[in-house]
Amino acid sequence: MDLRKLFLILVPYSWLLALFLIPFAIVLKIALSDYAIAIPPYVPTLDGIGNWSDFKTFLSELDFENFIFLTEDELYWRAYLSSAKIAFLSTLMTLLVGFPLAYAMARAASEWRPTLMMLAILPFWTSFLIRVYAWKSILSQEGYLNQVLLWVGVIDSPLMILNTNTAVYIGIVYTYLPFMVLPVYAALEKLDDTLLEAAEDLGCSRFQAFWLVTVPLSKPGIIAGCFLVFIPALGEFVIPSVLGGSDTLMIGKVLWEEFFSNRDWPVASAVAVILLLLLILPIVLFQRNEQKQREAEK
């Protein structure tokens, strides 16, 4: 391998090393440490290690206690499960909302498409936090949604939406919608209209043609969109803590509480490490999907 190639590969890898592997190593080290009333709140630390035997004692003090603790307290595995359920269901809902949107965008007259595309990504231009807080004033009992529903006469008394899981679903679907719409749109836009004509010519109704041609051909986009929503939704922390209630159990929230309320950094780190390990599977699947798609396009 010549030097140029080596250099080109070195750049992204050192980036990865600096921004992912080193922080991960630090978190892992904390997860293997013990809680202590100190600054930082764990022992042992790497401070003051001067020679090899110091380092050996340091290593001998690391253990898997925190990970074992995670399996003993049912709060944690229930939080992981409930996060997975919420992430899965909200991914499904995002797909149900996002697919028709992407479809309409792809079918729109070509002069409208850039505008529609901009509208889809417009929310990214303001702070995510502000948008989530805005939902509070929409969903609360005196909020706009309840006012409209009362005014229309659909309901007699205000609904309790804020501080429930429903609000969390709404928040996640709203926040991650562009991540679903964009890849699905990209797949649908490439779709050749003559394929639908060919399907109709061969005896398909419009709906059958959609089901047998449009859907399979947008599958790579659908899969990409689902992963792009599911992966961040699984570790989501802001949405459940702002919109969710006390009974909303999500691992991101647990993580936050361990770090900042309990100040138990080692347990919090262990929670984070497990979350990361759980995410590796969908991330690998996602990469495989992308790879397959690239090969098919060759």
Binding site: T194, E197, A198, D201, L202, G203, C204, L217
Partner: protein
């Protein structure tokens, strides 16, 4: 048809009692303010092999798409089997189309592409596999059944598209340049297959092609289209031997056009005054020309003989000098310059070896043709 060996010639268009299968009635198609099909009236009969020939952009595909149901005429009606097909959606028409761009489903294998239409029909599941197999062997793609479209060559894709449109054995089959990407040998084989299928199934074919030879080989009638209008509709031999305009004569095959003034002699014989100090060309015409009408004498190069000495048994002779020789293997085309500066093409079969050929560049030669060899055209 070029290979028609049947007893009575197949010519339903000459029989006024015959009902056409397809009938375009004053059909106009506009895209915005562009007129793609211009007030077109045309009858196509059952079991015909109807070829559409014309330059790029003349409206051939548009005509097909109206038959398949993807475009509605802006004006006029299209009848299929005596029924106005305007309101019938594409999936309810007994018509299948092979798309110019093939439109193969990229997510399905070759076999599944071919089976696609069959699965939507009422064919029992057990018979579908057999039919697909039959189609695959017809287009010689049996060993590629499980490949995806992007894993086969362009010509193979074209054959899959052809097989897919044939699979349902529709009443009317529309083929938009079905054989363009095939090599000559495979194309000829497929042409004969198509004619064979047509003979066996009695399917009516409408085929678009840019290849005149192909149209000549397969078609019962050829329609020459230009700017969304029909210029001439006739059997291949009539199109070739009796074109109705310079456009058709020039579009199909090679032709010499000599402009002159018509001088009626007797019956349908005319003397064509084409050059002041040269004897007029004697020709015949089915159409009447008045004295001194401007006319164009059109003659195919292969009807012009080329000899070293002046022939005595031909009505028309003219002397010239060989300007250029185009060697095409089986035949050669000689470009002969007349003293008037006009260049006439004459064709001769190369039945001798090239080294023993009698004429070469700058030779003085005689061109000759009979009085019935050419046609007189007014425009």
């Amino acid at each position: 048809m070029a290979f028609d060996s049947g007893s009575a010639a197949f010519a339903p268009w000459e029989d006024p009692g015959q009902k056409p299968l397809i009938s375009f009635k004053s059909v106009t198609k506009r895209f915005g303010n562009f007129t793609a099909i211009d007030n077109l009236t045309l009858d196509i009969f059952e079991k015909e092999f109807f070829a559409l020939l014309g330059p790029s952009g003349c409206g051939k595909t548009t005509l097909m798409r109206m038959l398949a149901g993807f475009e509605a005429p802006s004006e006029g009606t299209i009848m299929l089997d005596g029924q106005d097909i305007g309101p019938i959606p594409p999936n309810k028409r007994a018509v299948n189309m092979m798309f110019q761009s093939y439109a193969l489903f990229p997510h399905l294998s070759v076999a599944d592409n071919i089976a696609f239409g069959l699965k939507r029909s009422d064919m029992p599941k057990s018979e579908i596999a057999g039919r697909v197999e039959e189609m695959l062997s017809l287009v010689q793609l049996s060993q590629f059944a499980s490949r995806r479209p992007h894993q086969i060559s362009g010509g193979q894709r074209q054959r899959v598209a052809l097989a897919r449109s044939l699979a349902k054995a529709p009443k009317l089959l529309l083929l938009d340049e079905p054989l363009g990407a095939l090599d000559k040998k495979l194309r000829q084989e497929t042409q004969f297959e198509l004619m064979d299928i047509q003979e066996k199934t009695g399917t009516t074919f409408v085929i678009v092609t840019h290849d005149q030879e192909e149209a000549m080989t397969v078609a019962s009638r050829i329609a020459v289209v230009n700017h969304g209008k029909l210029v001439q509709v006739a059997p291949p031999d009539r199109i070739y031997e009796a074109p109705n305009s310079i456009y058709v004569a020039d579009f199909i095959g090679d032709v010499n056009i000599i402009k002159g003034l018509a001088k009626p002699e007797s019956d349908n014989r005319y003397a064509i005054q084409w050059c002041e100090n040269h004897a007029p060309i004697i020709g015949t015409s089915q159409h009447a020309f008045a004295s001194d009408d401007i006319c164009h004498f059109a003659i195919r190069p292969e009807k012009v003989s080329i000899t070293r000495d002046r022939p005595t048994d031909r009505t028309n002779t003219m002397q010239g000098k060989v300007l250029e020789i185009a060697y095409l293997g089986n035949i050669s085309t000689y470009h002969v310059e007349l003293p008037t500066g006009q260049v006439i093409k004459a064709q001769q079969a190369n039945n001798r070896r090239i080294s023993r050929r009698s004429f070469t560049w700058h030779d003085s030669v005689w061109l000759s043709f009979t009085d019935t060899a050419g046609v007189l055209l007014s425009q």
